[in-house]
Amino acid sequence: MEDLIPLTPQLWEATYETLYIVGLSLLFGGLGGLLLGIGLYTTRSGSILGNRAVFGTLNVIVNIFRPIPFIIFLAAAQPLARAVTGTGIGNSAIIFTLSLAATFGISRIVEQNLLTVQPGVIEAARSVGAGRLRIILTILIPEALGPLILGYTFIFVALVDMSAVAGSVGGGGLGNFAIQYGYRQFNPVVTWAAVIVIVLLVQAVQLLGNVLARRVLRR
């Protein structure tokens, strides 16, 4: 325990870093996934932009990249991360890679939740003369908002997990903290401190997501 107290500033630093990495990844990956998910949904045949070729292409891309285990994805995407962010290691590269992985993961969640919207509801919006973009923004997303919030909450939790993995290969944050000060120093108390912070973080966000989703769903 006395080993942990001097490390308190580092623990807070690591917590802040995790929130920073996960927050930005969720922002970029969330937007990317939303766009890709909407792309998948709207180009499916019979949907408002039905286009077999585009849907097929997007579908294959997502199917190829989504199942890659994150630790391998991290290594494989390193050249790309270096090309985009100028560095192959460090938080910027991690955020880039996490955002990319999250984009593929979120796109399926978004697609699936949009598919639960009754086609008749979209039809009703078309019948009053609404255009495609308006339908996406004012009908499709609001109708699926409750489950979308829960989907994004789920992804937040997954990103915390993935960011910890990234910590083991050069990123900052709680994963790195636990390995550097806990595991390598044979100090389980320090490792457990990181675990507790992660659990609390995840619980807090899950609670927030549940409350928001419940409010949107009015239950």
């Binding site: 008749g120 509801v121 009703a124 019948s127 009053v128 003369g129 009908i139």
Partner: protein, 342 residues
């Protein structure tokens, strides 16, 4: 000039799976609907009713043929133009299709926002519409807090928001119980009479046609097999397929199964007399049979009323001398439809 006019319209859907045949949902249909009518479309499931109606507001694009609504071409026009056209055509649905994430007020306001009306205009119009459908007190409720009938009334208010000339109703009462159905039908009649809106109703319920429609078209296999005044089509369907459909909704003609049950229970000859108002009355038929010494028993039947005109079918089991029965039926046949059921 008719308000809605279809000329040689076809609609085919590509096969769902490779190797399946192309589906000809609408097969060379021509149809005119006049302003102010309530036009019914009936037919078996899969006949193409929904597809036909969805062609009118271009939710589906015709494969070939020409559709003109209120003087405007619907076929081969750019999307932007279709959206203006749709402001003139409201639509209501079997499953209501309300926007669940929006309040009743915002459901009704949505078409007005799409049409780019100002806040004040929207405020005034939504208030007026909710009054019209009797839901002023539900403005801030969400759809899941409403009964089926209330949901459909919201659907109607939404469809009327932009003051369209035409209302399309695809099985609008099929998900409702009989009492609620009548409530909604009354509202639709007010829409037609008070607002002068032309209504196209798809239905498989006899009641809807009977109480609402002025004209009716019977569809089968993507074609319109018969159309005309509701009374004429229902009391005297000419085509075999419309006769088949009409007999499933009109009370009075025994089905083949029912006929074999009647045969088991009754000796004698089984004959159906079909009456339309204006034909010689039922009383004269009974009197004539009695006068000829033919014994009769009413075994099946029903009388229908369409907008104050009656028609129906009575099936009698006749016993007596064969020759007498035959000659009596022959003399009656000139004045009334008589059909011996073999």
């Amino acid at each position: 000039m008719p308000l809605i006019s279809l000329r040689n319209v076809t609609k085919s859907f590509p096969p769902g799976r490779r190797g399946d045949p192309v589906v000809h949902a609408i097969d060379n249909v021509s149809l005119d609907i006049e302003a102010g009518e309530i036009f019914g479309i009936i037919g078996y499931s899969g006949a193409g009713k929904s597809t036909l109606v969805r062609l009118i507001n271009a939710l589906e694009k015709a494969t070939s043929g020409e559709i003109v609504v209120d003087g405007h071409q619907v076929t081969n026009v750019p999307d932007r133009q279709l959206r203006t056209l749709r402001l003139d055509i409201g639509m209501i649905f079997q499953q209501f299709n309300l926007f669940n994430a929006k309040t009743v007020w915002n459901n009704v306001a949505y078409p007005l926002r799409v049409a780019g009306r100002t806040r004040d205009e929207i405020q005034a119009r939504v208030t007026e519409l909710l009054d019209f459908v009797g839901l002023a007190d539900k403005a801030s409720n969400y759809p899941e807090q409403l009964s089926g009938g209330q949901k459909q009334r919201v659907g109607i208010a939404r469809a009327l928001a932009t003051s369209p000339k035409i209302l399309l109703a695809d099985e609008a009462t099929s998900a409702l119980d009989p009492e609620t159905t009548h409530e909604v039908l009354r509202l639709l009649r007010r829409v037609n009479e008070e607002l002068g809106i032309t209504i196209v109703v798809i239905t498989h319920e006899m009641d809807v046609i009977q109480t609402l429609a002025t004209k009716v078209a019977v569809m089968d296999g993507g074609r319109i097999v018969e159309q005309g005044e509701v009374f004429d089509v229902f009391s005297n369907p000419r085509e075999a397929s419309s006769r088949r459909f009409v007999s499933t909704v009109v009370r009075g003609i025994p089905s083949p199964d029912e006929l074999s049950v009647l045969r088991e229970r009754h000796t004698g000859r089984i004959v159906t007399f079909s009456f339309r108002d204006g034909d010689s009355s039922q009383a004269s038929v009974f009197l004539e049979l009695a006068a000829a010494g033919v014994e009769f028993e009413l075994v099946y039947g029903g009388i229908n009323d369409i907008r104050g005109r009656a028609f129906g079918h009575l099936t009698l089991a006749l016993t007596g001398q064969d020759a007498v029965i035959t000659s009596t039926l022959q003399t009656m046949a000139g004045r009334i439809a008589v059909k011996e059921l073999a």
